[in-house]
Symmetry: none
Subunit: 407 residues, 2 copies
């Protein structure tokens, strides 16, 4: 957090607005089968024009070789060093946010799996045969009724079904602790683990959760496949210093998907309702242009296309982004950055560790020799290659929002 | 300090001399209005020839986006990580050094402003209407007489006028502490703050300074504009391990301006009297060639031109530097580095955060593809982009002054 404290110490107000446009998973790779990346293949005349007048470079989300999840990838873009333990967003919280569950400070959340156990109690399938989502909806509702009936004193329990065999557990009450061990033994042939505290401060919560699990499993004991539950990643909202306070600005988040809204909210940004695709997102930004100094815009589709291994779809989404760009630039931001939270190369069908190209535009950004926003041009950009969490300093500096360090 | 300790552990003597030529604020930017930087515009045949046989790269003075003052910028070049709290040179010390005041270990210094207060004591102008320097000279002399008359026991008080409404206070005596809060309230309509300790160890010094302030203000109470004083940045010389001891070499500083001489002295270098411009500085270096292993040469004019927004002057000063270069190289240094403590882009009229090009020449430096010493060529240099404080290791290594690490 040292770097963040240094920036916070130097932060000063300015009238220049900052726009951070995150194209989720935008980075890609060249392989024998895919000789051009999505950015190299896309026709992006507006991005090209912006790149000519911009400084380019590359950001490393966590560390060379480390593939980030969406949480660390975004926290780094917001200026938090994701390697710091206090910056960790637990799996339970991230899953809850991803399901549009509101998570308040003090709530404890966990990721749940339905599982199959044999008559002796030993696990035979840790994902309950990957039951369809509709079944998860039905079973979660049954468990919710059972938990409500059991009425653990002082504890408000909320369950929400996820995709397939997944659900989320949220506990609300006084003095809850997330210091609970997973009940998932991570192997078959043994019983689910009892609910246990991972540290002394978790004892009381563990006792309460044990009663909750008993009620939940009572409701599904007769099921053939989903007759047990496994809980993982007990966690609370991290205590992140809010970006608005750190950097003396009003920060607004414009994201169409709940997980990113949740991460932004956890960083103290105001989450603004908006559509799912960039043209609609830009309209929402335009409506609230006077209300913020820092705008986080999130485009999810590039990542989805990468996860699907669909280069053509990724290219098409980049071209849609490109078409929406002029309207965004017309708003007159002082500084614009375009980048991603990580790479999601189509050949890998998932997140990866590769550095992510970043474009930074402002009156004093240094218009360098890099002529296009893509992985290869970015190598010769003026910004160089640096950890993602250091991007915030460049955004602030280019917006005139950092005072001089030392006399 | 970890990095510095590593280098210190490996440092070994060698007959190869190191020349570090600092062109203050040399880095610049390309903007729409200024499509070429000063280095790109200057005709520098000698630097070009040197660059062809050199390794180039870029240094980041503090961190991406952070604009350094002259203190941190130079400390980093001398191998100290300016983000470390113990490397901080306080404002009072830096102002004193900048006014050619000698600052000894144990002295406490503060930056002073003359200010205007109304009849009720409330501040109406924190800079006393920006009085001319001549008035500051007169008032400072009056305050000095009053302080000498008050004779606070065991305390030697020295005042020195600065530019306009500025002056410096230096306290000398046994057991002084810099743990004093600013008396500048940083706002109008309220009275100057009383002298207060910022920590228990500052109590005795605060009591003494309160008497000093009373004497000073007694001497100017009748003034219309400059009738109060505000003190800021109480500080002592930092306890920096001397570069000579760390790296087992004799270090000489050749700088024409007091602030840079002061910073070099604070790092344990011997300060050698010399002229203000490079040709004269090089003559001073030549005279003392046998006395040092490490020569710090400081050229101020490039920074001044940048602060003035005068690209043509910056170019002219670079060309003067270029003309003086052969004489410097003829001395036969083992290693030569040319760089800056930070960028001072003419369009910004001040220090900036942009990386600074660095040129490193030595027999094994790796003559790379970068052909000129400028911001854009430096991007493709062999040295890459790295924090300024790490340059010292490269200077030492190229001079054969670092032993192997580990077996």
């Amino acid at each position: 957090m040292k770097h963040q404290q240094l920036l916070a110490r130097l932060a000063q107000p300015s009238e220049h607005r900052i726009v951070l446009l995150v194209l989720d998973g935008v980075g890609d790779v060249r392989t024998a089968e895919q000789p051009r990346t999505a950015l190299e293949s896309a026709a992006t005349p507006n991005l090209d024009r912006l790149a000519e007048a911009s400084a380019l470079g590359r950001i490393v989300p966590v560390a060379p070789g480390v593939t980030p999840g969406s949480g660390p990838g975004h926290l780094a873009l917001f200026g938090y060093d994701p390697r710091e333990p206090e910056v960790d967003i637990g799996r339970g919280v991230l899953e809850a946010l991803g399901l549009e569950m509101e998570v308040a400070r003090g709530d404890v959340t966990a990721r749940g799996n339905f599982a199959t156990a044999g008559p002796g109690g030993e696990l035979t399938d840790r994902r309950a045969g990957r039951i369809p989502s509709e079944e998860s909806v039905r079973l979660t509702a049954a468990m919710q009724r059972a938990v409500d009936g059991a009425a653990v004193p002082g504890l408000e329990v909320t369950l929400r079904p996820g995709e397939g065999h997944r659900f989320v557990l949220r506990l609300r009450g006084e003095g809850l602790s997330p210091a609970l061990a997973d009940t998932d033994p991570q192997q078959l042939g043994v019983a689910p683990l009892p609910v246990r505290a991972a540290a002394p401060e978790g004892e009381a919560t563990a006792a309460a959760v044990a009663r909750v699990v008993a009620a939940m499993e009572g409701a599904i004991a007769g099921e053939e496949r989903a007759n047990r539950v496994l809980l993982r990643g007990f966690s609370q909202l991290p205590h992140l210093p809010p970006v608005g306070e750190l950097y003396r600005l009003r920060a607004g988040a414009f994201a169409g998907y709940p997980l990113y809204r949740g991460v932004a909210a956890a960083c103290g940004m105001e989450v603004v309702p908006c559509g799912k695709r960039l043209p609609a997102i830009v309209e929402a930004v335009a409506e609230r242009w006077d209300d913020f100094d820092y705008f986080f815009l999130h485009v999810k589709q590039t990542d989805q296309a990468g996860e699907d291994g669909d280069l053509a779809a990724k290219v098409a989404h980049l071209e849609e982004v490109d078409a929406a760009l002029p309207r965004l630039l017309d708003l007159g931001p002082g500084v614009v950055a375009v980048t991603g939270d990580h790479s999601t190369p189509a050949p890998l069908r998932g997140h990866s560790w590769h550095p992510v190209p970043v474009l930074l535009h402002g009156p004093h950004c240094f218009a360098d020799e890099a002529r296009r926003f893509d992985e290869v041009e970015a190598i010769r950009g003026h910004l160089g290659t640096f950890p993602s969490y250091q991007l915030m300093g460049l955004l602030l500096a280019n917006a005139g929002r950092l005072a001089k360090f030392g006399a």
